[in-house]
């Protein structure tokens, strides 16, 4: 566990780049608190530029770990409801446009390539190429968002909203035909207008739905009550129509997860675009070079993780 001795200072670092806020143009040399000269883009509390670079990179990796955990939560939610309502997921995912999703996947993969290439370019001190590649990355990201926009609006037109607002009312035949599951037919029955008049709010309705989804309860480890006295009573009370409505609502959960997941992913894309925009801005001013390109490297890492998350979202949502 012994750490090799760390150099107290590293005067070897050549200041071959401009300052980072202290000034531009000529490399600025400042006298640090330790009395040594050091390049101005190294902050005084770092012993060496190398230490600073490694620290930023480790920081970025830690940040990416939090990103994975953030999306991890949503993947878990996805998984649990998939286990609870498997047929429903299959049926619902047919509503997503696989072609558009696959196209978007390609767009993102391409943007990852341009991003990685941009880092390579700045490592080779090819600033112009880096700027071009970064701009290309932003364009591709924008393209991704435009496609996403069309996907969203199309779904809104079809009445596919998240959760309680979900009321898909077409393609009934198509869905049941494809899945071959007859009990799924009522899934996409509209939820309006066929309630028996006493519509006393969703909370109480939900409670009455008890017993119609015994299968889901087993998965949760709670006691299923198949054939329980109240379950029978519940079914009598409900009738076929109500069962249909609650299945319908559960289909809404799939789209809820779809919207939340892709929505948060889209927010990450936008944040990434802004970050790359800053890189372009400062890159044009000549801030980065092969000696110091930490921000380019870190944004690149971020962009790859956003890409990788999509690689998981796409098959889970669109394909299976």
């Amino acid at each position: 566990m012994a750490t090799p001795p760390i150099r107290v200072d590293d005067p070897q670092v050549t200041p071959a780049h401009s300052g980072d806020g202290h000034g531009h143009g000529e490399p600025e040399m400042l006298v640090g608190h330790d009395g040594n000269l050091h390049p101005s883009n190294r902050r005084f509390y770092f012993v060496s530029a190398e230490q600073q670079f490694e620290a930023s990179k480790l920081g970025m990796w830690l940040f990416l770990a939090t990103e994975i955990l953030l999306f991890g939560g949503m993947f878990v939610a996805y998984g649990i409801f998939r286990v609870l309502y498997p047929e429903l997921y299959e049926a619902a995912s047919l509503q997503l446009n696989t072609a558009l999703g696959a196209f978007n996947t390609l767009v993102l993969l391409l943007s990852s390539l341009t991003m990685a290439w941009a880092i390579r370019a700045i490592q080779m001190d090819n600033r112009k190429l880096m700027l071009q590649l970064l701009s290309a990355t932003i364009l591709l990201a924008g393209f991704f968002l435009v496609v996403k926009y069309f996907e969203y609006t199309h779904k809104f037109h079809e009445g596919i909203f998240p959760g309680s607002s979900f009321e898909l009312n077409e393609d009934i035949d198509r869905v049941s035909d494809l899945t071959g599951a007859t009990e799924l037919t009522p899934i996409f029955v509209p939820s309006h207008g066929d309630d028996h008049g006493d519509d006393h709010g969703s909370e109480t309705d939900g409670a009455e739905a008890v017993g119609t989804d015994a299968a889901s309860e087993t998965a949760n480890g709670s006691a299923p009550l198949a054939g329980g006295p109240e379950a029978e009573a519940g079914e009598e009370k409900l009738g076929g129509d109500k069962t249909a409505i609650y299945s319908d609502r559960r289909a809404g959960i799939f789209f809820s997860i779809y919207y939340v997941m892709t929505g948060i992913h889209a927010i990450h894309i936008i944040i990434g675009m802004i970050a790359i925009g800053f890189l372009v801005f400062y890159g044009a001013k000549g801030r980065y070079s092969s000696v110091w390109y930490t921000p380019v490297e870190n944004v690149g890492l971020y962009w790859h993780i956003v890409d990788i998350i999509w690689i998981f979202v796409f098959p889970l949502m669109y394909l299976i």
Binding site: D198, T204, A207, V210, E230
Partner: protein, 372 residues
């Protein structure tokens, strides 16, 4: 009808000391309580001993090695592998014992015997409703036979609740859209308190119920439904007001609560509601389908539906009671109804329709079980 009258009355508890003079666990009133208590006391005594040892060592060291002068120099203390190992191994063994004990007791206390009697329980804000297999319902109290395993099938109408009987050592969350169960067998007659232990809003702390453990005979009687009562409509309403926990939200003295007060509301305008004002129809609709119309200022949606829980006499009684509270009660409201078989007799004007609540109607299947 007032069940407490003929239930064996337990001595009112007055002291925070338990009957046996201890301070910790309440009396064991179920057949499984001793398993939990045994483990509880085992951990209690072991950990008390441990705490005393740690504290004693601490105090002794503080005194023995107190700093006598600023010239005190540290003494080289070598770490002893055996000492360190001992305080890893001993606690590990102890907690493993506790784990297996807890695990065993958990299994035996959570699996109900196959011959258990099932009673359905529904929690809602803020009361419990018990329903026997024959459909007879009791709000906020239930009668169970002594010395018989009882299995409670529980679900919630609105939010999470938790069904807790300290004397039985049972507790389980009550979840909407899902069933959970607990079971118990009470070896002695008595009345036991049910508490809600999952926070559920304003009157969470008033969401109590009573479990009456009674003789088999009394149990058979009780499960036929509440006995016929000679009550006026106003009295029916007053009884419903307290039995169904209407009082936890609606005051009768004009005080503000979770829901509007019942004082002086009869005939009050309710613009926007189908009925337009507080009348018999309005009251009935509010009880059965509360989400349809909510009084401005009380749109919290807290009111559960009592559809299927109240009989006609009780429904009409609530209206009559509100009339009474507004000084608008008629003579008919105060007239004692002649009930036959749990229903208002035919032609009884104030009761409205002839059909009485199905809930109060005992079913034939249950009758055959009684000895009488």
């Amino acid at each position: 009808m007032m069940q407490t009258d003929d239930t064996p009355v337990l001595e009112e508890r007055t002291s925070f000391f338990i009957e046996d003079g201890s301070l910790w666990l309440p009396p064991q009133s179920s057949t499984t309580a001793h398993e939990i208590d045994g483990l509880f006391y085992f951990i209690l005594y072991t950990s008390t001993l441990l705490t005393i040892l740690v504290t004693a060592a601490m105090v002794y060291f503080v005194w023995k090695y107190r700093r006598k002068s600023h010239a005190d120099r540290p003494v080289d203390v070598h770490e002893s592998k055996w000492l360190e190992l001992s305080w890893v191994v001993v606690p590990t063994l102890l907690v493993l014992v506790v784990f297996f004990w807890g695990f065993r007791a958990y299994v035996s206390t959570s699996i109900p015997p196959t011959d258990a009697i099932t009673i359905n329980v529904e929690g809602y804000k803020w009361a419990w409703n018990f329903e026997y297999q024959n459909g007879v319902q009791y709000p906020n109290e239930v009668y169970v036979p002594v010395g018989t395993p009882i299995r409670l099938e529980m679900t919630s109408q609105d939010v999470l609740h938790s069904f807790y009987v300290p004397e039985f050592r049972i507790k389980h969350d009550v979840i909407p859209n899902r069933y959970s169960y607990v079971w118990f067998e009470a070896p002695e007659e008595g009345t036991y308190q049910v508490l809600c232990t999952e926070y559920c809003g304003t009157s969470h702390s008033n969401m109590g119920a009573k479990i009456h453990v009674v003789s088999r005979n009394e149990y058979y009687e009780r499960r036929l439904g509440p006995p016929d009562q000679a009550l006026s409509l106003v009295e029916w309403g007053e009884q419903t007001y307290t039995r169904y926990s209407c009082n936890s939200c609606h005051s009768i003295d004009g005080a503000d609560g979770v829901g509007p007060s019942w004082a002086n509301v009869w005939g009050a305008p309710r613009p926007g509601s189908p009925q337009g004002e507080v009348n018999e129809e309005y009251v009935t609709a509010s009880i059965l389908y509360p989400q349809e119309y909510m009084v401005p200022g009380y749109e919290n949606g807290n009111m559960p539906s009592y559809d299927g829980q109240l009989n006609e006499a009780q429904l009409a009684g609530v209206s009559a009671y509100i009339r009474e509270l507004s000084g608008a009660a008629t003579e008919a409201d105060r007239t004692v109804l002649v009930l036959s078989d749990g229903q208002p007799a035919e032609g009884e004007a104030a009761a409205g329709e002839a059909a009485a609540g199905e809930a109060a109607t005992p079913e034939g299947e249950a009758m055959t079980e009684t000895d009488e």
